[in-house]
Symmetry: C2
Subunit: 269 residues, 2 copies
């Protein structure tokens, strides 16, 4: 069982930042990644639709020898963890609770900003997860929808992304948050630009950026160690599946996962 | 038959600019609009998937008394017109050929810019349609993917949209095009901003903007008149369907269709 892979799925390409973080922190582990590119984005779907899509995506990964399932999609993590846990005995990790815990652990004054897609913000999932850990936390939640297509354009340091972040970050600076949860898997690619804009445009250097990809990977490492499931020392293999438009998956995916995506296989769910 | 409605479908919300133009130019006509919001965006899908989605969308509209079918989606117009025409005897109008003809009619020097989603540009459909009418036209085609989410944010005149257009328009100005086809149904909402950026940032006032929504509506008017199918004088009714996320359809759709969308009904295709 300890030689089995980590199954990771996302609505598309953004979850590759989570796969990349797992590959970085846990290089021995095999990773099987599924991007449900035929149905992206989940962020604008209804909860019922999101659950149906997540069940199908998980169903594919569960056909392979895996030892843990990582839902590397904030929208799917917001809605589908309970149904997925009912469908398998394997550990199922979402990105929201780890991100929430990292935010609560890291906050100094309890004023936390949350940024995500429309669907994630509207779901209230981060808000609930943070309040479950710290009921007195002051939360400011805002959708940042434009960062997803900008990440996919590769505009990680483009003047347009900078100006968009000047617009998006203003509410958080005004609300004097001390940390911001990057509640969308696409956002980590903008981490250094966000820090730049906070410092150069707003003169702020003390807002911590919480990256859910890092947080879920730390949880995964703990889980594998505690359950004696960590892979032996080896070069972990990576396999990629998508549900449509393989050429785009590979081309755009390179902005998120530094490794080779050329092995991607198209599957029908 | 002349009292039947115009059926209009799009992958989502953008096609409402076409419905709005039909309602403006042909106020007597009933319009039945379907936005396939559960499957948007079509622009990043494979051709096979796009055709399958378009057939299902058209199938729903064909259950209602309609006299013409308007494919108000550039991506679907690029790939699905032939299969749809095989499936119905009603006239099927796409947005690409009317847009191409308007571009060819309007160009002075034969240097035409084409802007659209990744899928539309990659399909080569505008390029082919224009070259079929004017084989010597010089074409410059570029994807403008960020305008779609900006339109849906309501950022029609936002500094971020302005800066994005300064980036996007540079290639067209450099190539000295004399007209630009707005080859995506979301783009007409940026028409005045595009004209502003061309004049203020580039000092250019003689590039014509070709709006496919206007062009297809003119074709539709001709068709209805020639076939004696135009509606009697009355206040045309508008019905709206979407396949998911009705609240968002109504809220965001108001940026594109000035009328009341509150009657929208969710359907499963």
């Amino acid at each position: 069982m300890h030689k089995a892979a980590i199954g990771v799925f996302d609505s598309g390409i953004g979850g590759l930042t989570v796969a990349a973080e797992i590959a970085r922190q846990l290089p021995d582990e095999d990773i099987i990644y599924l991007g449900d590119t035929a149905r992206l984005p989940y962020g604008t779907r209804s909860p019922e639709t999101i659950i149906r899509y997540a069940e199908r995506a998980a169903g594919l990964l569960l056909k392979y020898p895996i030892k843990a399932l990582v839902v590397a999609c904030n929208t799917a993590s917001a809605y589908s963890l309970e149904p997925l846990r009912a469908a398998t005995e394997l550990p199922v990790l979402g990105v929201i609770r780890p991100g929430a815990r990292a935010a609560v652990t890291g906050t100094r004054g309890g004023r936390i900003g949350i940024a995500g897609t429309e669907g994630t913000i509207r779901s209230g999932a981060y808000q609930q997860a943070i309040h479950a850990l710290s009921p007195v936390a002051d939360l400011v939640a805002r959708p940042w929808p434009l960062l997803v297509p900008m990440a996919e354009e590769g505009w990680h340091d483009h003047p347009v992304a900078r100006l968009t972040l000047e617009t998006y970050l203003a509410d958080f600076v005004e609300a004097k948050v001390d940390s911001i949860v990057l509640g969308c898997t696409h956002y980590p690619v903008f981490k250094s630009l966000i820090a730049d804009v906070l410092e150069e445009h707003f003169g702020v250097t003390d807002i911590a950026l919480v990256d859910s990809a890092e947080a879920v990977t730390e949880d995964l490492r703990t889980l594998l160690t505690e359950q004696n499931l960590a892979a032996p020392e080896r070069a972990g293999r990576r396999s990629f599946f998508c549900t449509d438009a393989r050429e785009r998956f590979e081309r755009v995916g390179r902005h998120f996962f530094a490794g080779d995506l050329s092995s991607a296989t198209v599957v029908d769910l």
